[in-house]
Amino acid sequence: MLRQKGFLIWSGAALILALAWGLPASGALNPYVIQILMYVGINMILTLSLNLVNGYMGEFSVGHAGFMGIGAYVASVLTVAVLPPAWAAPAFPAVLVCGGAAAALAGLLVAYPSFRTRGDYLAIVTLAFNMIVKSVLENISWLGGPRGYLGMPRLTTLFWVAAWVILTLLVLRNLVYSNFGRGITAIREDEVAANLTSVDTRRLKLYAFLISAFFAGVAGGLYAHLLQFINPRSFSILKSTDMLVMVYLGGVGSLTGSLLGATIFTVLLELLRPLGIWRWVVGPLMLVLLMIYRPQGVMGFKEARLFKPKLPTPGGGSPGPPAPAASPLRGQ
């Protein structure tokens, strides 16, 4: 059983990668569709990474665009100013990892306050972090200041996006269904009780923020090398709100939900493009209605069977984050 599922996952991943490599080359898809697919992929990485903090750990980060921005700028500076042009393409994965690492480093700035404050106040900390990142980027003149930074080669291809989505998904799936995952779920349900049952809450929070920030930074690097132009305003609180919509639309505490949320949101906004400025009214309205009528999202705390490991456990129960009994998120 376990073998079969493993085989299914790996062959599925290989198939997706092959398609991501072959389809753009074959010319069967028009470039517009490929572009949208890449946006969907980047948004999937962002949503998955945010879901780790907001969905599984139950903290409330509203500043994820800050991590994305750091990743985008660091990766862009590496390909434009540091590396010789000939090296940029082969070193692209390493460049993305550097961007992610820089974002993870910045994640410390949010992780440490999270030891002392939580809930509303931690939300404010993440928000302040987002604003500070944007403000710093606007004031560094050799990064273009508010005018933005450009000159990146278009290195982001569907293949790289697909590869990073699969990598993110695999890493997060293995984390979420490990001891680490149960630990952060315990923090979500009751931090004090988790601490009493010997969950090292500080260490877990630190890791969760680092991992989440890392993948957001990678997504930022992919985004920068797709658009070939970034400015501090692309990483404002608006972008963070978009990510929140995707997480809560798809479903908190669900990897399947993150994939679904990112897809629905990105495609819907693309379909609404003819509405012009009015399409930006639709997103917020959707968010409000969603919160009122289905706050847990489409797939809240549910998972496609493919992503669930079925490990032999004593008693036969399926391991993994249990669905919370009363309150879907930490309430009052």
Binding site: R116, I124, N139, P146, L244, W278, G283
Partner: protein
């Protein structure tokens, strides 16, 4: 933003002039911060849409003023000012109450996070719908206050500055009296103290919460009118920056505490006015303000005047 006036030749005059500017700007921040802090005090919810309610209030003041000036009656400016203020305060109060009724009340028993996300959504909705209706081009606020200057001991005053500071102070004193001395204020404090018990004592909780939103929004509208007179270029995204700054003011002062919001407003006004004097450019002001917030939250999360809250196990 506020021009750094360098007419005073010596350091003291420069300082005094900037303190005056900080008071003027701080008054506006304080008025908006009051709305954040009142809602947080009563519902423990951050109403992130409040900055955009302020923006709508400013536009409504503009609409009222332009309408009254356009009438063929040649109304005196005082009447136009008061008329625009009444018009915008009433309609903005209505907007605040409707937002609470339609978007926040269904979530009263939902997890806190849902309410916060909804508030962010409502704010974006207000911004974008204003942008959709009016377009992105900025609008100009007419001059309702005579543009004379008074010089006293090297300091330059304008009637507008005096009006802003006096009116803001008046509104704050009224609000403080309302919360501390009236039955409505007592009900507000009681709800903040213990929401489950208060309805058993016969307090109409929903009415009191609606009134809180109405008062907070009306005060934001008054702040909007004053802001529009002082910085007469309006655009639909103005509420974002001012709203965040006022929010920082509320948190710095101690969110949920009305006097704290006033104090925080003046601190933030000072940050904005004095940043360009210390750092190379005024573009650092967001950095300074948010760093202040971050440092404060790490060392004293409940703000300057807030009381610590302990989690019961």
């Amino acid at each position: 933003m506020p021009a750094v006036h360098l007419w005073g030749k010596n350091m003291f005059q420069l300082l005094a002039q900037n303190v005056l500017n900080a008071l003027q700007l701080g008054s506006v921040y304080a008025l908006i911060a009051l709305g954040y802090t009142m809602v947080y005090g009563i519902l423990t919810m951050i109403n992130f849409a409040h900055g955009d309610i302020f923006m709508v209030g400013t536009y409504l003041s503009l609409a009222g003023a332009v309408f009254l000036l356009g009438l063929p009656l040649k109304l005196p400016l005082v009447v136009v000012f008061l008329g625009a203020m009444t018009f915008s305060m009433l309609l903005t109060a209505l907007l605040g109450v409707s937002i609470e009724r339609l978007a926040y009340r269904p979530l009263r028993s939902a997890p806190r996070v849902s309410a916060v996300i909804t508030a962010l959504g409502v704010g974006l909705f207000l911004e974008n719908i204003t942008l959709g209706i009016l377009g992105p081009q900025p609008l100009h606020f007419p001059d309702l206050i005579p543009l004379t200057r008074w010089e006293v001991a090297g300091l330059t005053f304008t009637p507008l500055q005096v009006l802003i500071i006096v009116m803001a102070a008046g509104l704050m004193i009224l609000l403080d009296l309302l919360v501390r001395r009236t039955l409505l204020g007592m009900a507000m404090r009681a709800i903040a103290y213990n929401r489950p018990i208060v309805p058993l004592m016969g307090v109409p909780v929903d009415h009191v919460i609606s009134l809180t939103f109405a008062i907070g929004s009306a005060i934001a509208a008054a702040g909007g009118l004053l802001y529009g007179l002082a910085y007469p270029v309006l655009d639909p995204l103005m509420g974002v920056r001012i709203g965040w700054w006022a929010f920082i003011a509320a948190v710095v002062g101690g969110i949920g505490n009305i006097r704290g919001a006033m104090l925080g407003g003046f601190i933030l006004g000072a940050v904005e006015v004095f940043t360009p004097l210390v750092l190379p450019s005024s573009t650092y002001r967001d950095f300074v303000a948010f760093s202040l917030l971050l440092v404060l939250l790490i060392f004293k999360p409940t703000g300057i005047l807030g009381r610590p809250v302990f989690e019961r196990v």
